[in-house]
Amino acid sequence: MRSPDFGFRLGIGVFAAALVLIVIGIGVTLANDSWLSLQKFGLDFWRTSNWDPVAGDFGALPFIWGTLYSSVLALLIAAPVALGIAVFISELSPPVLRAPLIFLTELLAAIPSIVYGLWGIFVLVPIVRDLETGMPESLRALPLFSGPPFGVGMLAAALILAVMVVPFTSAVAREVLKTVPMTQREAAYALGATRFEAIRAAMFYARTGIVGAVMLGFGRALGETMAVTMVIGNNPQVSLSLFAPQYTMAAVIANEFTEAANALYLSALIGIGLVLFIITLLVNMLSRGLIWSMARRLPVNAGV
């Protein structure tokens, strides 16, 4: 009786360990292959903004900034929309509409990112440019909207990322809302809650899962490469302006890796990969921590 149990545990243990080993392996490989640039630039790699392959001077700050800024903006746009879709589908939608709506949002997730990129260049960017040129001068004075209106830039990237993130976040949020027991809603109605209040109670019940759904979208936005590089303008600069062309970590790796023939240059690009790896890890840890603290602070059914 013990031996099949032991075999099962061993098997599962091996799989679990493999996952951990892969993550450690990636980290070690990245650190090892970027050693040359780490040695040369040290912490300055994180702090400086010059990226000059000819002179052999590399700083990752504009790429770090571009990645985080575009992902946060995308999340600010996508999260309310995605949650709205999830709530509508799981709580409000007439049953006939439910299946087609689910199908359509999931279809968004199935579109290859290069197609999003092309759509971005030919449809989204001209619209963004019109928006930018049409903006009144008084607003253009704000740092958020400064600079010439290229069309490509941070705003276009954030918008396209938002569209790409919505299906992931809404699919998970929908599943999470589905797990809220019917009794929760019935109890709310029994206490005289309006529909809005009942939905709010259900969302509160599912809050850790919803935060998880949003963070999943954030992780997706951090790593997205192709669609972003096609619309962000690919100019490494740290700018608050939504109109400024900027750059992301994933994009610079994809763009420059194939032609980077010199050892330091290659190692700096792998260094960017290491930074992206660390930041993704931090974001994941942060979201875990957030979920844990939320789960601990209040008993599960305290909201109703």
Binding site: N50, A55, I121, V125, M230, N234, E259, A260, A261
Partner: protein
């Protein structure tokens, strides 16, 4: 097939005979990797050559020039291909001497989108350099006006578009700008990716041309082949002889021809800003890279034969695919140089 006597390597005639007579046996595929720009013609060549010599299979991965150089240096592929010649540092890093062989020619053309302007614009190297340095900010800049009398250039901003991905196209373009503008050379320099002082980056030829088509008042640069195939209008550029030349397959071959007299024996030469009449100034070779003393003699022999074929019979496929063929002067130099490879 006859053996060419070759210095010290003829101690084992049996092996050499096997190498020469490998035609009968099932040969291993020969692997190569490198530049994306010549990929269409290389694919065509390898397929045609395989039809003529069914036992020679050449497998090419277009992973980019940098990747090709790296894989050749690590000896994971038998031959490499690049749009920019290897520099001394890279050659030194390789385990053995590497030879360059130009195969076809490419060129880079300026494309632009100025609302209301349908005329073909004229550029000089200095003006292009100043535009890409961000010094010429408006289309009605006097420097542009002087080159294009009669064209009513608007007072709108110039949006500079460049490649965001590392590419041979960028290499050729900045190599030319660095030759004609000392300021560009010191501020930007020559590489497959550079730190651009101005503008936005598009990924690939399609990214740059997409941005240019979409952005009023923009200027970019793309490969000649890409512009021809997609019927994108482009401007002419003044060459070293003072003529304004619109890029064409002929004008690119002329550039190589006029540079032939000064080509160094290792073929590592930039032919941008070539001196001859009718030469298009933003032209370049693309190279195949081979070890001078390959480990696998049979594969070495097969590649030498292939390159000989590509330089002669193979050149007929250039025109269809939009590549500029090599001038006969360069082909002759290369045929002599192929003898340096120790295949026995």
């Amino acid at each position: 097939m006859l053996l060419t006597a070759c210095g010290g390597g003829t101690t084992q005639p049996v092996t050499a005979n096997n190498a020469g007579g490998a035609d009968g046996s099932q040969a291993q595929p020969i692997n190569g990797a490198g530049a994306t720009f010549p990929n269409p013609i290389y694919s065509k060549w390898f397929a045609e050559y395989n039809r003529l010599h069914p036992n020679i299979r050449i497998n090419y991965q277009s992973i980019g020039s940098g990747g090709g150089i790296q894989q050749l240096t690590n000896q994971t592929v038998f031959f490499g291909a690049t749009d920019g010649p290897m520099n001394d540092e890279q050659l030194k890093a390789a385990p053995g001497p590497i030879l360059h062989f130009p195969t076809v020619l490419g060129a880079v053309v300026p494309v632009y989108n100025i609302p209301g302007i349908t005329d073909e614009l004229k550029f000089t190297g200095a003006v292009l350099a100043d535009i890409y340095l961000g010094k010429i900010k408006k289309w009605n800049d006097p420097a542009l006006g002087k080159l294009n009398p009669g064209v009513k250039l608007p007072a709108t901003d110039v949006t500079v578009v460049h490649r965001s991905d590392g590419s041979g196209t960028t290499y050729i373009f900045v190599d030319y700008l660095s030759k004609v503008s000392p300021e560009f050379k010191s501020q930007v320099g020559v590489s497959t990716s550079v730190k651009w002082p101005a503008g936005v980056g598009g990924k690939g030829n399609e990214g740059v041309s997409g941005l240019v088509t979409q952005t009023p008042g923009s200027i970019g640069y793309v490969e000649l082949i890409y512009a021809l195939q997609n019927k994108i209008a482009f401007g002419s550029v003044q060459n070293a002889a003072g003529e304004f030349v619109k890029a064409s397959v002929d004008a690119v071959t002329k550039a190589a021809d006029s540079a032939a007299a000064t080509i160094p024996p290792d073929f590592r030469v930039s032919i941008t800003n070539a001196p001859g009449a009718g030469a298009y100034p933003i032209s370049s070779f693309t190279w195949i890279l081979l070890y001078e003393d390959p480990k696998d003699k049979a594969a070495g022999k097969a590649m030498v034969d292939f390159v000989k074929w590509a330089l002669t019979d193979g050149q007929q496929y250039c025109a269809d695919l939009g590549y500029a063929p090599l001038p006969s002067t360069v082909v002759m130099l290369e045929q002599a140089a192929l003898g340096k490879i120790k295949v026995s």
